[in-house]
Structures are given as C-alpha cells and as structure tokens.
C-alpha cells in the first residue's frame, strides 16, 4: 500500500478544544468513514475518515484540486446533482446514515447551509434571492420576511450598499457583493450546519472581517466547515483543521486535529511544509 493512512489504528478525536468563543464538546456531528469520491470513474478523493464536531469550526486546507469542494458536496448530498460523481463510504449525520437512498434529502439540505466557491445568486432581484428560500420554508408573513431579509443582509454588511436597489438584479452586483448575498441566502434559513467554500475569497478585508466575526458568533450554535486558502484566517477562527493533499493525483486527508497544534506542531512533514513554506 502506497498511500499513507494517517489515522490508521489510533484515535483522532482530540478532546475539548482550546479556541473559539464557545467551548465545543467533542461530539461528532458528522462521522465520515472511508469516504471516496470519483468523477466518471476517476478517483479524486480517497479513504477520508474524520469526525466533524458539533458546534465547532473545522477548516479544510490544502492545495487546489485536492478535493475540498468535492468533499463538501458529499456532506449535503449535492453530489447527487453532479453528473458522473460517484461516492462511496459512510457518513453519519446526527445518527443517520446520509449516503443511503431513503433519507429525506431536502430536510438534510435545509439543515445544512452551503456557500459555493463561485458565487451563484439566482438571476432574480436581490430581494427575491432571499425571499425565495424564506417562502419555501414557510415564512409567509410579509413583515417577518422583510425583517429577516434585512437582518441577513446586515449580517454580511450588504444592507447599506443595496437597500436602495433591492429590486434590481443580483447579477448586476459586484463580485464581492454577490458573494455576500450568497452567504446571506444560506444564513437566512438558520441551518444547524454551514458548509462554506472559500466564503471570503472575493472579499476585501473589511467585508472579510465582517464575515469572520459572524462565523465566530455562530460557532457553538452552528457546526461550520470552512474551506479557506487563507491560513491566517484558518488559524484565527477554526477549532479544528483538516489538511488535504494530493498523492498521485488522488486527494487524501493527511492530517486532522485541533487547529493550533496542527499549525504549530504538525505531525506530518507535508503539513509542516504547507503551513510554513507557503506564502500566506
């Protein structure tokens, strides 16, 4: 066997965390075992096993193309929508196996908010982008709708910029504005899990700061998995970190652990090289 299996034999549940506003107990929210993902038969992620802890912020780091987005797409079964994607392995979410056919996928996804790497607001007005999911989940009162929408926009620092043009197209927003709109759209349903694929990549430091603050406020209540290339950011906000790497063009989980130790005293030489050598 050529590929390293980092957690073979030993437990990788690392006890109570040290960082984060809220103290998280190490209760697994997602238990992922032997997860492999392939596209049209080509394996891109293999044998990933890790626990994502309830109320904690888990950062995924790793080079481009190592399977971070693919990993996220499995957690809310969005992989179903991607032609050619095949998933094997085992994922338990709140005690339920979510990779079987007979689960309520819609309920699962409602429970798990997702922010995509490429912002994808609907081709509707800004207001409707937020109204649609609200209505869909039973918020019928117009006043409550308006309130929630304002709240969501405020929480991502977009309200002031767009309050005068809520009826204009979301596609006419700037890149960063679209990104924030998508974050607001995911938050408005108050899911218990947030999957964030580089939510701050298109954001300037101010907006990025707003989003970071928001994430830290949510920690404890929400389980958050965040893909970020900004190692400083990962270090600042995450409780746990998972490091992916590509070996023979197959993505693998190299190291998983509490954030600070992973950055400060990585077990694996690859991790060490990545967190130190790369320019932050």
């Amino acid at each position: 066997m050529n590929k390293p299996r980092p957690f073979e034999g030993k437990t990788y549940t690392l006890g109570s965390i040290e960082k984060g506003e809220h103290c998280c107990e190490a209760v697994p929210h997602f238990s992922i075992r032997d997860l492999s993902v392939s596209y049209h038969g080509e394996v891109v992620l293999s044998d990933v096993s890790l626990d994502v802890y309830k109320g904690c912020i888990t950062a995924l780091i790793g080079p481009s193309g190592c399977g971070k987005s693919s990993f996220l797409s499995v957690l809310n079964r969005l992989s179903d929508l991607i032609p050619g994607e095949h998933v094997s392995g085992n994922i338990t979410f709140e005690g339920q196996d979510i990779l079987t056919n007979n689960i309520d996928v819609r309920a699962l996804r409602t429970n798990i908010g997702m922010i995509f790497q490429k912002p994808n607001p609907f081709p509707l007005s800004i207001y409707k982008n937020l109204l649609l999911p609200l209505k869909e989940h039973g918020v019928r009162d117009k006043k409550i709708q308006a309130e929630k929408i304002q709240q969501a926009l405020e929480s991502v620092g977009l309200w002031d910029e767009v309050k005068g043009r809520l009826d204009s197209s979301a596609l006419a927003l700037s890149g960063g504005q679209q990104q924030r709109l998508c974050i607001a759209r995911a938050l408005i349903l108050e899911p218990s899990v947030l999957l964030m694929d580089e939510p701050c990549s298109a954001l300037d430091p101010i907006s990025s700061g707003i989003v970071e603050d928001m994430i830290q406020k949510l920690a404890g209540k929400y389980t958050i998995i965040i893909v970020t290339h900004n190692l400083a950011q990962a270090r600042r906000i995450a409780n746990y970190a998972a490091f992916f790497w590509m070996q023979e063009s197959v993505g693998q989980l190299i190291e998983f652990g509490r954030c600070q130790p992973l950055f400060d005293s990585p077990q694996n030489s690859l991790t060490a090289a990545y967190v130190s050598g790369a320019k932050g």
Binding site: L78, I82, I112, F116, N120, F122, P123, P133
Partner: protein
C-alpha cells in the same frame, strides 16, 4: 477583416430573407387591403365567401386556438419539464418518448386530420366540432412546445439547480421560479411557433373542426377556421381570390396581434421575473 466579411454575409443573409419576405407580405397587403373593411370583419360570408365577411370564421378560429393552446401549453410545459428535469435520460422510456415526439413533428397534417377524425370525432364521439379541431391541433403543436422548452431548460446553467438544492428548495419551486423564467426566450419561441403552426393549419382542420361557416354556438359546433376558408376560397371557389387575400390579411393581423400579446405576456410573466445582467 474576417469579422467584417462574416458581418457582411450576415447582413446579406438578413437582407435576402427580408426581401423575400417583404415580397410575400407586400403581395398579401396589396391584394388584401382592398378587401378589408369593417363590414368584412363584422358580417357572415355570402356567396361561398366571395362576398360578405368572415366574422363567424374569426370566432371559430379563435375558439379553436383557445382550445388548442389551452390543452397544449400545460401539457407541453409539463411534458418538457418532465423530460428535462425529472426523467432519467439514460432510460429506455426517455428515448422512446423523445423519438415519438420527433416522429410526430414530421407527421403530415393530413395524417393528423385523419387521426383526429378517427379518434376525436369518431372514438370520443365529439363529431365535427371546434373541440375536435382544437384537440387535434394540440397534438400537432405539442412536439414544438416540448422540444423548444426542453432545449431551453437544457441550456440553463447547473449552478442554480445546485444553489436551489443546497437551500433545500423543492425542485418544483426552483423550476417555476428560476428555470422556466430563465428559459423564457426558448419557451416564447416555442409558443409563437406553435401559434403560427396552429393558425396556419388547414388539412388537419378540414376533417375535425370542419367546413361549416356558421357562427359557432358552442365548442361542440363545427366551425371553419380562417386557414380552411382561405384554402377553400383559393382552391374551390371560382372568383374567391379577392376574399382569399382579404382573409389571409385578417389571419396575418391576428397572428401579429397574438404574437404581440404572447411576447408581452412572456415578458411580464417570465422574463421580468429573472433579471439578466
């Protein structure tokens, strides 16, 4: 340079198309306008249509269209949505339906007429009636509606399907609120082509909605469509040319009216919902 040449070619193509069509339209206009008058629009045909007007025929045409579109549009949209969003594209059923639709698009209208005659007039006991005619037309335009709508849906980027799914939205909501409105150009095209085909149809209607040029009193009455009237005037009625041109002009005016409203409706209902950059 190449861009210029290409642009020129495009211009040429557009010009040729326009010229040919202007000739046709001009022909109809020049010969049709003299026949057109308020009286022509508001009275019954006399002397086999050589004199009098086309009122009952306009009414019949409108009713046939309403029936045809009323049936075909929901079925067509439904069918297309099923094909594009729900059906398993690898399945046998899918390819059979696909093939059937393409086949139907090529069935001569006379065959539709005979089918309508056998099925609606005969089997379903509807007789020669506007209902039979409308339903037969509905069968004819379904493939158009389905094909174009399906093509439209196929071109919607997957991003929004993912976004919707990730928000736990029903596929239904997503389809109605985002995918269909975004596909509006294709759906509108299909709608207009269907309306065109339906108003232009002759052979299928002769056998189903019939030839009677009385004012229809209900959907189970026989009623003559404008296209049938035009056909009859130019083929079987000696000296019917003038009235034929007049009727053709009326038909074209109706088509333009309908298209105008259809465009407007689709803009208001569908396109205005989506905001394109």
């Amino acid at each position: 340079m190449i861009d210029k040449v290409f642009s020129l070619c495009m211009w040429a193509a557009a010009t040729v198309v326009l010229c040919m069509f202007s000739w046709l339209i001009a022909d109809v206009l020049i010969q049709g306008i003299p026949a057109l008058s308020w009286e022509f629009l508001s009275s019954e045909p006399l002397r086999s249509g050589r004199e009098g007007g086309v009122l009952p025929i306009i009414v019949s045409t409108a009713l046939i269209l309403v029936v045809a579109l009323g049936v075909a549009v929901p079925l067509g949209l439904g069918g297309a949505i099923w094909l594009a969003e729900f059906a398993n594209k690898e399945s046998r059923l899918f390819s059979v339906i696909r093939m059937t639709l393409d086949m139907l698009a090529g069935v001569p209208s006379i065959v539709f007429g005979l089918f309508g005659y056998a099925f609606f007039c005969g089997f379903l006991q509807l007789g020669f009636s506007i209902l039979s005619g409308g339903l037969t037309l509905a069968c004819m335009i379904l493939p158009i509606l389905i094909r174009t709508t399906e093509a439209g849906l196929a071109m919607v980027p997957n991003d929004w399907r993912k976004a919707g799914a990730a928000l736990g939205m029903r596929k239904t909501t997503l389809i109605i609120q985002v995918l269909i409105p975004y596909s509006a150009p294709a759906i509108t095209a299909g709608l207009l082509l269907s309306i065109g085909r339906a108003t232009a149809e002759t052979a299928a209607l002769i056998f189903t909605s019939g030839y009677v040029d009385r004012m229809p009193e209900s959907l189970s009455d026989s009623g003559r469509a404008l296209s049938v009237h035009i056909y009859d005037l130019s083929m079987n009625v000696v000296g019917g040319d003038k009235a034929a041109y007049g009727s053709a002009l009326v038909l074209i005016i109706i088509v333009v009216q309908i298209n105008f409203s259809a465009n407007l409706l689709s803009e208001v209902w569908l396109e205005k919902k989506v905001a394109r950059r």
